[in-house]
């Protein structure tokens, strides 16, 4: 009876794939940085060409990326005494006097059609040595993305850690008056620029999850007034409903090979259990059973285990079960509430929502030593997601009554706040590394 009615109910929703305007969707503010950010000078890149100039200021994008990492302190352009664009023009003593440890110079060279080449060099000012020289080809449309890639390469050279400036973030916003809420699933670049609306609905949207190749997003939509799981292609915007079984269809999580989703389903018996769903064959495999709420699955890196939240001993705790079936084993023991596990990229830690003396906070659970470290300091923090290099986590928190996003470095020292112009923002999911 009601299934059909709900289908017909057709809540007003629209599928859009648009560049949603000129302004960044997220405003990013560093709230705590490292004590000794490395002073770096990123000189405006020169231009060598006769046609259309590059669409963005690559050096400005690179400097902003490095500043946002909290590990670097770029020199203000107007303090630069010289603006070399080639190695032969560099006078290291000037940069040394001005206190820069690292110097980045470069130029953008016009290619055929709308092609450009971003040529850049990185120097150790104190030793007067080149650390890195690279040519990054790009077309006009990908100029911003490739400028982020330049920042990634510089960051990796200087820190030994792969940069995440060219990654993206998916999240859910809620705007509008209480009687007419609009839910949106949005994807932006990691710096908050280039926002795109993937889905817009008057009914809730939840739990966005990136496929391992970064091309698709799985999420939960209530557009038919019940929870259903969809998989949407980012490039084309086309999507497929992959689970609309009776009861709850929730918490999709991609297997590392991208072939399966782990999900939480309640089905006919009303009992939330963990299943895997093979996306090609549609074969459903049940992994847990019993009266407990079993939800929020997350795969181990090798795809052999699935971590999940269960209240089988009372309050929610994290358990794990073999992905092909087997006995469950409890993983978290510290505190009354540990939920929504997310595996760190090195496989050594779980990020969880942890009840810390009455406050819901983001914590890291060390799997080898079973040690819990609280990272955030809010009252209602939730939805932690690791950057693909493992250095940073993004999560949802509150600023007054508003939902905002925040990031914290895995060592707890570097913090940022990301807020939208209006409304709430929640459920951030950090993309994997882009394909090279």
């Amino acid at each position: 009876m009601s299934r059909i009615n709900w289908q017909r109910a057709a809540a007003v929703f629209a599928l859009l794939m648009v560049s949603a305007g000129l302004r960044a969707e997220l405003q990013i503010e560093i709230t705590a940085g490292v004590d000794k950010a490395v002073p770096i000078a990123v000189v405006p890149f020169g231009w060598s060409g006769t046609g259309a100039r590059p669409p963005q200021d690559a050096a400005a994008i690179v400097a902003a990326d490095l500043a946002r990492s909290g590990r670097f302190a770029p020199m203000d352009r107007k303090d630069m005494l010289q603006r070399p664009t080639a190695g032969t023009e560099v006078d290291f003593s000037d940069w040394k006097i001005q206190g820069s440890d690292v110097l980045v110079i470069g130029q953008v060279v016009q290619g055929a059609g709308d092609q450009f080449e971003i040529r850049f060099q990185v120097f150790d000012v104190l030793r007067g040595e080149q650390l890195l020289g690279y040519r990054q080809a790009t077309n006009a449309a990908d100029f911003r993305r490739n400028s982020h890639r330049v920042a990634d390469l510089i960051y990796e050279k200087l820190t030994g850690i792969r940069g995440v400036f060219s990654t993206r973030i998916a999240y859910v916003t809620v705007a509008g008056p209480a009687t007419k809420r609009i839910f949106r699933l949005i994807v932006t670049d990691a710096d908050g620029e280039n926002p795109r609306i993937m889905l817009e609905s008057v009914q809730p949207i939840m739990s966005p999850a990136w496929s391992p190749d970064g091309r698709r997003i799985a999420y939960v939509s209530f557009e038919n007034r019940r929870s259903e799981i969809y998989v949407q292609d980012l490039r084309s915007g086309s999507r497929k409903r992959v689970s609309a079984r009776p009861g709850v269809n929730g918490a999709p999580a991609w297997s590392p090979d991208g072939r399966k989703l782990a999900v939480s389903l309640s089905r006919q018996d009303g009992n939330l259990d963990i299943y895997t769903l093979d996306l090609d064959s549609q074969v459903l495999t049940r992994l847990t059973s019993g009266a407990a709420i079993d939800t929020e699955p997350a795969w181990s890196l090798d795809g052999q285990q699935i971590y999940y939240t269960s209240d089988s001993t009372g309050g929610p705790q994290v358990y794990r079960v073999p992905a092909l079936g087997g006995a469950s084993q409890r993983v978290t023991f510290e505190g009354s509430y540990n939920a929504r596990p997310r595996m760190s990229p090195d496989g050594k830690q779980l990020a969880v929502v942890h009840n810390d003396r009455g406050n819901y906070r983001i914590a890291l659970v060390d799997l080898a030593r079973s040690y819990t470290q609280v990272l955030s300091d809010g009252r209602l923090d939730e939805s932690p997601s690791f950057a693909p290099n493992g250095e940073t986590l993004i999560y949802a928190t509150r600023e007054g009554k508003r939902g905002v996003l925040a990031t914290v470095s895995a060592n707890g020292r570097i913090k940022q706040r990301l807020s939208t112009v209006e409304g709430d923002v929640r459920e951030p999911a950090w993309s994997p590394f882009p394909p090279n």
Partner: protein
């Protein structure tokens, strides 16, 4: 606690009736839908609550059925719990009897949670709460094909606010007829 719950229920009713309650709380679409004739925009069945025009007048008061008052169509729960408190026995008995006596009548149980903790776990709590109410209605004579459940977790709060008073109003199951 019971006193507080009653006050809380009264507050909701007052807010819904007047749409001009205390400034710190606002009523959302879902709560408004429960009070009026619409249910959050899904108007497909054509059997709006107001349209039924025949409340179950059990023992002279509209405790159960589509004519039940607002406060008799919301069941509240304790934090991280999904057991139905005994204070709701009479109300749920009335709804169960109504469904039993009106086999073509349909009801949808919408489970909700407060905002604390993780969102999908709260979907689980909302579903468990809806299932708990469903089980009581079945014991009272309702048939299983008369009852549907859905969980909105913390996604559709009845009131905004981040204190115990708001949370206690959001941990609920709403009984919606005509679905």
């Amino acid at each position: 606690m019971t006193m507080m719950k009653s006050l809380a229920a009264l507050l909701t009713v007052a807010l819904l009736a007047a749409c001009a309650g205390p400034s710190r709380s606002t009523v959302d679409e879902n709560a408004a839908g429960t009070a009026g004739t619409q249910t959050g925009g899904a108007m497909s069945s054509g059997v709006g609550e107001g349209g039924m025009g025949q409340g179950a007048t059990m023992g002279g008061s509209a405790l159960g059925g589509p004519g039940a008052s607002q406060e008799n169509r919301i069941i509240y729960f304790e934090y991280d719990r999904f057991d139905v408190k005994s204070e709701y026995n009479a109300v749920l008995q009335a709804h169960g009897k109504y469904l039993s006596a009106n086999p073509t009548s349909r009801v949808r149980l919408e489970g909700h949670a407060d905002e604390r903790g993780s969102r999908e776990y709260n979907i689980g709590l909302g579903e468990k709460r809806a299932q708990a109410v469903r089980n009581v209605l079945l014991l009272q004579g309702a048939a299983s094909d008369q009852i549907n459940t859905v969980s909105f977790g913390e996604e559709r709060p009845a009131v905004t606010g981040d204190d115990e008073e708001a949370w206690s109003l959001n941990r609920r199951v709403e009984i919606v007829y005509g679905q």
